[in-house]
Every structure is written in structure tokens, then in C-alpha cells.
Symmetry: C2
């Protein structure tokens, strides 16, 4: 064959090895953290020699940083949510988030990886936070703010509401998977209950005529609320 372009299938081999090494490293870092993972183990799991790792990555730190390229479930979830948000059906928007997270996404490995990274103060976690988590919060906070402006949700700091909801979901995952504190309820039941609590917590209540004495009506409500 004449001057065909040199790149085709075969040229990928290096990249493939590199990706294999990254995958092995990611799973080990997720299990044992940066300091707990030895380069020898990474090599063994990837089925290559230790030396090859340092051919592709100048140092263990660099290998750790390369894991960033891994995909995250956030963008996909986010695009689904934006579609749902158009329709303005709160139960569906919050329900999708709840089902996604209570249902096991992001997977345990990624969660552990990010947590380790945060504890060890590696830039990996900061990067992931900025590029994925932050985007997600901006969406959710924006959505909640919109619904507050539309007088569907009660007035409150939208960012706190967003954090509250995510807290319910993520902390539940962490308790289950980090501390083994599993509950009897199925992920679907959990998701339904979380959404249920959150919706009632956010929505403008039907005005009570006489609330019990002793408990002051909690929320500062704007006067002139119809509903």
C-alpha cells in the first residue's frame, strides 16, 4: 500500500495500554487510596510490567491525575434533567435525580475515588467538583429558584434547598456503602420517600387556619399569598 496515513487501527495500541493502566489504577485508588496503592499492584492488575507504567506516566502522581479523563454520569443526567425541566413537572425532575442516585449512580468506585481524593487534598477532587458537581448544583439551584419565583415553592435560599436534597441522597449512599448501614427499603421506595419529603418541604403550604399553639408557624411567608 502506498502512502496511506499512518494512523488507523494499529496506532491505537499505545492508547489502549494506557487506558488499561488508567482503569486498573482507578479501581485500586478507589479501593485503597493514593498512598495505599502500590505501583506494583497497578502493574499486576493491568497485566503489564511495572516499568511500562513509568513509560506512559512520568510518576504515580501523573497517573493519578490522568484518571480525570474518566467519564462521569453527570453530563448525561444533566441533559435528561434539562429536558424534564422544560415541562416543569417537579416530581419528575426531583424523581429522576433521586432514582439515579439512590439507584447506584455514581458507582461506588467513583464515589470512593472522589472521597479519597478530597481527603488527601489531591487536585482530582477539586477538578471533579468544578467540572461536574458544580454544574449540577447550578442547574438544580436555578430550577428551584425558578419555581420559587413562580410562587410554586416557598421563598427560601434556593442553594440551601438544592444542597438539602442532594444531601438526603448522597449521604444515604455513603451510609449504605461506606458504613454498610443498609436499609430494608428498596432504592425505588427510598427515592419516592426522599422526593415526597422534599416536595412537601419546598412547596407553598395550603394555609392552615389554626396551627397548634406553642409551635409558631415556621416559615416566614410573604403576605398576599393566594393559593
Amino acid at each position: 500500500m502506498p502512502k496511506s496515513p499512518p494512523s488507523n487501527s494499529t496506532r491505537l495500541k499505545g492508547k489502549i495500554r494506557k487506558a488499561e493502566i488508567i482503569a486498573s489504577a482507578a479501581s485500586l485508588f478507589a479501593e485503597k487510596g493514593f498512598n495505599g496503592t502500590k505501583t506494583r499492584e497497578i502493574a499486576a492488575r493491568a497485566g503489564v510490567s511495572e516499568a511500562l507504567i513509568f513509560k506512559y506516566f512520568p510518576s504515580k502522581e501523573d497517573l493519578y491525575g490522568a484518571i480525570l479523563a474518566e467519564e462521569s454520569p453527570v453530563p448525561r443526567l444533566l441533559s435528561q434533567l434539562r429536558a424534564l425541566a422544560e415541562k416543569g413537572n417537579d416530581e419528575e425532575v426531583f424523581g429522576l435525580i433521586a432514582k439515579t442516585i439512590a439507584g447506584g449512580m455514581p458507582d461506588t468506585g467513583l464515589m470512593r475515588l472522589i472521597l479519597y481524593s478530597a481527603l488527601e487534598n489531591h487536585e482530582l477532587s477539586q477538578m471533579f467538583f468544578r467540572n461536574h458537581i458544580r454544574l449540577f448544583y447550578e442547574f438544580l439551584t436555578g430550577y428551584i429558584q425558578r419555581r420559587i419565583d413562580e410562587r410554586v415553592f416557598r421563598p427560601m435560599p434556593a442553594v440551601i434547598a438544592a444542597r438539602s436534597f442532594m444531601g438526603m441522597l448522597m449521604y444515604h449512599r455513603w451510609l449504605s456503602e461506606l458504613f454498610g448501614a443498609h436499609l430494608a427499603e428498596s432504592p425505588e421506595e427510598m427515592a419516592r420517600a426522599f422526593v415526597d419529603i422534599m416536595m412537601n418541604g419546598l412547596r407553598r403550604p395550603v394555609r392552615r387556619k389554626g396551627s397548634r399553639p406553642g409551635t409558631r408557624a415556621s416559615a416566614s411567608r410573604k403576605p398576599g399569598s393566594r393559593s
Copy 2:
């Protein structure tokens, strides 16, 4: 002096040193995890020689385990809560929890220590979970169940409600302290907003028309159709 008991001030010296070593180790393990902390650093921070550490603790693992003796803020909070719970004022019960946790308890060091321990699968975290966190959840779940039975809260799985509330609070702390995602709001504002959302999320909504109590009345109402 006759047979006076041998213990007094000087005889304590060993215990004091031991405690100093444990404190130094605890702060370092909280900062860098088990694998990230070197015995030389522990010795330096405690102001003793490395060899002395191994005089008191057979191994680094044993030293790690000894940190268990540290006190936790849970028992004190729990006894305050039991008193408040007698009076049955929900805002105060939930408010105290929220203010305690949003206000910085348990401290960052203990939180990091437990998290590291959970990730590294050390028994420290399991022990802490059983002896402290679990007790707390049992109280909170019991309280919520009582209020459901008293028809103040809506029917729902009490354990999920408890987990939801703690999730709001703990996840907020973790985001703030692990990822540096601080919010502008003060801890008091945060606590108030969390309690506000939770109270509205839990309480039985007052309906003008008759609604059948006892049956699940949760997520039946369509939200998107302009209030």
C-alpha cells in the same frame, strides 16, 4: 508513709505520654489517613522518640485502634435531645440537631478520621458507627415514629425521614469542609432553613376538604399545573 496507694501524680506519667501520643497520632491520621501518616511524624509531633511509640503500642495499627477511646459529641447531644423530646416541640428538637451539626460538631478532625477509617475499612469506623451514630439514629427514628403515630407527621418510613434530615446536615458539612464549597449563609441561617424544609416535609398538611387519614396521600397531586 505507710501503705498508701502507690498512685499519685508522678505515677501517671506513662498514661500522660500515652495520651499525648494518641492525640498526636489522631490529628495526623485525620489529616493524612493511616497510610499517609508516618510513625516518625507522630513521634515528632508528640515530641518523643520514635522508639517510645513502639514501647506503648506494639504496632502502628494498635495505635490507630487506641484512638477509639476519644470522646464523641454524640452522648451529650443525645441527652439534651431526650429532654427536649419530652416536651414534644418539634422545632426545638430538630433545631438543636441542626444547630449542633451546622455549627461545627463533630469537629473537622473527627469527621475526617472517621471518613478515612471508613474508606480504609478499619474497624475504627465500624466501632464508632455502632457506638455513636447508630444510637443517635435510633433516637431520631423513634422520635419521628412517635410523631407519626400521634398524627402530627405524615405516615412515612421513619428511618428514611431520619436519614434525610441527617443527610441534609452532614452532607452540607462535608461539602463545605472537604470540597471547600462554602456557602454565604451563616450556620444559623443554614440550620433554620434545613429545619424549615424538614418540618414542612414531615408535617401532615392541613386540608380544607376532608382527606382520609392513614392512606398514603403523598405524591398524588399534580404539581406542574399552575397551583
